[in-house]
């Protein structure tokens, strides 16, 4: 049974080269294979989520090497939830890119897509900090390819910036891991959780340095101030389905912060206890403000959506910063919501912009199906800005409720409420400019309306379906907020009881005499020799 834990990594890893080498000349075959693989991934993720809901921490040891010597994959409620979220989003985005023909505009879309899924799922499942770095690289290198899918001058330049930014980030990640290993002698997250509190006071400076470096690395991924500059250029120039998939990539950074700062640097660990609370909260506040102002200032639709993603990351990280179970629960709820709403906006923007010809926010003749797109945009913008009745409202309400600490409350409440208002204004302006004002555009006398040849076709049902599904998921998340937050409360409580995680990962090594499971015959050997 425990072998299923590695399936979300192995399945895309097998399918990607197969699609890339064997099916590269046959787009239909590649589509079928990619879709089949993603459906299978979704089913596996669903199974893992049901399995993890029993509250246990399930460990998969690669090569059956005992932790901390071997690499472990760990499935608990949080990682199962994140893998399921990835698989759901991947399925919907894949549908969109096949239905709109994005995948045929360049080469190797499906192979890169599968590699991307492999990296994301791996990053969510791994229990080893260096392995986390490797999966980050896998997902990044696939994202570089997806980012410049179908090419073009501006996209190549934006892609180059994205690559340079992330390569510098990867180097920083390695420096952080090196510092961590030099001080603690381990990179296994559970083992770190044991070792970090034992660090002598005079050596604790090094651990703090490593923890802060890691925090910066994950802030780059999560696009938090002051390292958020890469995001607008990347998301607004990436192909829209890719930008929608990237909605989960910022969450990888958020996940890593949540995971490490409840486990390896948990609040009880003396050397690193106030790293997050000191730095993350102000960074998240500035990020939230920047996102809201960016939404207000954007002159084009895609940057506007990118800034709304930044704003939602700021809102979410406000709830991560206090590091307490209830705040984390609300952060997880908002994480799911903001992933789906960002993806819905990007997919919808793709449908509109591809027919409109440009994403500049000015008045130009309306596109076909203006009413339908306007309604969908209205719903998705409501979700993103956090107005009732969709899940964004509930998410923000929960976060406000969680941030009642007297020293946090004035900042957080002001930030979230004013930020939401500014975001609403920005979205209202964009929506009325694109969908409403366009209906009253007067062409100058004597000019014919410019008709592209052939005129853009109305969106078929299959093209609109992914956006509808994402909106349905947001409605579902709002209607079923009780059960959803119940699961997230359980996940947060599990995170804040790290002993279960640590015991499960380290059990056979730390307590060989207990032998709860069946320790492999040679499992104790490397350890014994080490002591020799």
């Amino acid at each position: 049974m425990s072998h299923w834990i590695i399936a979300p990594v192995v399945l895309p890893a097998m399918m990607a080269p197969l699609i890339g080498y064997v099916m590269r000349h046959d787009i239909v075959l590649a589509r079928v294979a990619s879709a089949a693989s993603t459906v299978a991934l979704f089913i596996i993720a669903l199974g893992l989520a049901v399995w993890a809901a029993d509250g246990g921490t399930h460990v998969y040891r690669l090569g059956d090497w005992p932790a901390p010597f071997g690499i472990v994959l760990v499935l608990d409620r949080l990682s199962a939830m994140m893998v399921l979220l990835t698989a759901t989003l991947a399925l919907i985005v894949l549908w969109h890119s096949i239905a709109t023909g994005w995948d045929a505009k360049g080469r190797h879309f499906h192979a890169l897509y599968q590699f991307q899924l492999m990296g994301i799922c791996g990053a969510f499942l791994t229990g080893d900090a260096f392995n986390l770095f490797v999966f980050f690289e896998v997902l990044l290198i696939a994202s570089y390819g997806l980012m410049v899918h179908s090419g073009g001058k501006v996209r190549m330049q934006a892609g180059l910036q994205y690559v340079v930014m992330n390569l510098a980030g990867s180097t920083l990640f390695l420096f952080a891991l090196g510092t961590m290993y030099a001080t603690t002698g381990t990179l296994n997250m559970a083992d770190l959780a044991v070792k970090v509190p034992q660090i002598a006071a005079e050596d604790s400076g090094m651990v703090r340095v490593a923890a802060v470096l890691l925090l910066i690395v994950f802030m780059i991924k999560a696009a938090l101030f002051p390292v958020q500059f890469w995001l607008p250029g990347t998301y607004s120039n990436a192909p829209a389905p890719v930008a929608a998939l990237f909605a989960i990539m910022t969450k990888v950074g958020a996940y890593a912060i949540i995971r490490l700062h409840t486990l390896a640097f948990h609040p009880g660990a003396e050397p690193t206890k106030d790293v997050v609370t000191t730095w993350l909260f102000p960074a998240a506040m500035v990020t939230l403000a920047l996102g809201a102002l960016g939404v207000l200032a954007a002159k084009r639709l895609m940057p506007l959506l990118s800034f709304s993603v930044i704003g939602s990351m700021g809102t979410m990280m406000l709830a991560v910063a206090p590091v307490d179970p209830y705040a984390t629960e609300t952060a997880l709820y908002y994480l799911v919501h903001s992933t789906f709403s960002a993806a819905a906006l990007f997919l919808l923007a793709d449908l509109v912009v591809s027919r409109r010809g440009s994403d500049v926010l000015d008045a130009r003749p309306p596109v076909v199906q203006n009413g339908l797109f306007a309604a969908l945009f209205f719903a998705a913008a409501i979700a993103m800005a956090g107005m009732p009745p969709l899940s964004g409202f509930l998410g923000k309400l929960l976060i406000l409720d969680a941030l009642r600490e007297p020293e946090l409350m004035p900042w957080a409440w002001t930030g979230i409420l004013v930020g939401s208002l500014v975001t609403i204004v920005g979205f209202a302006r964009a929506g009325s400019m694109i969908f409403w004002k366009s209906t009253s555009v007067k062409l100058p006398e004597g000019t014919e309306p410019i008709q592209s040849d052939p005129p853009p076709a109305p969106a078929r049902g299959t093209e609109v379906a992914p956006v509808m599904m994402l909106l349905a998921l947001l409605v579902g998340l709002a209607v079923l907020a009780g059960p959803a937050t119940g699961y997230m409360r359980a996940a947060a409580n599990q995170l804040f009881e790290p002993s279960g995680y640590i015991d499960s990962v380290l059990a056979p090594v730390e307590k060989p005499e207990k032998a709860k499971a069946d320790p492999p015959l040679d499992a104790a050997d490397p350890h014994a020799e080490e002591e020799h």
Binding site: V148, V154, Q161, V164, A168, E529
Partner: protein
């Protein structure tokens, strides 16, 4: 030796950071390469500096050994940074051929061109 290694890492990192902050693609590639060299040396030194010590244990004699894990880490890091540098060169070439110049940042006029 500690001083030599430490200052080598420091100089490589400083040079790398300086070159990354240039506007042209070629210095940036060089800068990232320098940074990856620096981090590779740094990773080797995280297992403490030891000379003439094998990275394996000896059952028969009580000889000193060096920590093998950083060596495994640095091999992984070298492979990844090598591959990434190749990808980066291809990207730069692609961007250069598309845009006609090798500047890293996107100017406002280019965004306007695209918008028009």
């Amino acid at each position: 030796m500690e001083l030599l290694v430490a200052s080598a890492i420091g100089v490589l990192t400083a040079g790398g950071v300086y070159l990354i902050l240039r506007l042209r693609a070629f210095p940036v590639i060089l800068g990232l390469s320098l940074l990856s060299y620096a981090v590779n040396i740094f990773l080797v030194s995280t297992g403490r500096l030891a000379i003439n010590a094998p990275p394996i244990l000896n059952k028969y004699a009580d000889v000193s050994y060096t920590d093998p894990l950083p060596q495994a880490l640095v091999l992984t890091a070298i492979v990844i940074s090598f591959g990434m540098t190749a990808v980066l060169v291809m990207f730069t070439l692609g961007a250069y051929l598309e845009a006609g110049d090798d500047t890293i940042d996107m100017t406002a006029t280019e965004e306007k061109d695209d918008a028009a």
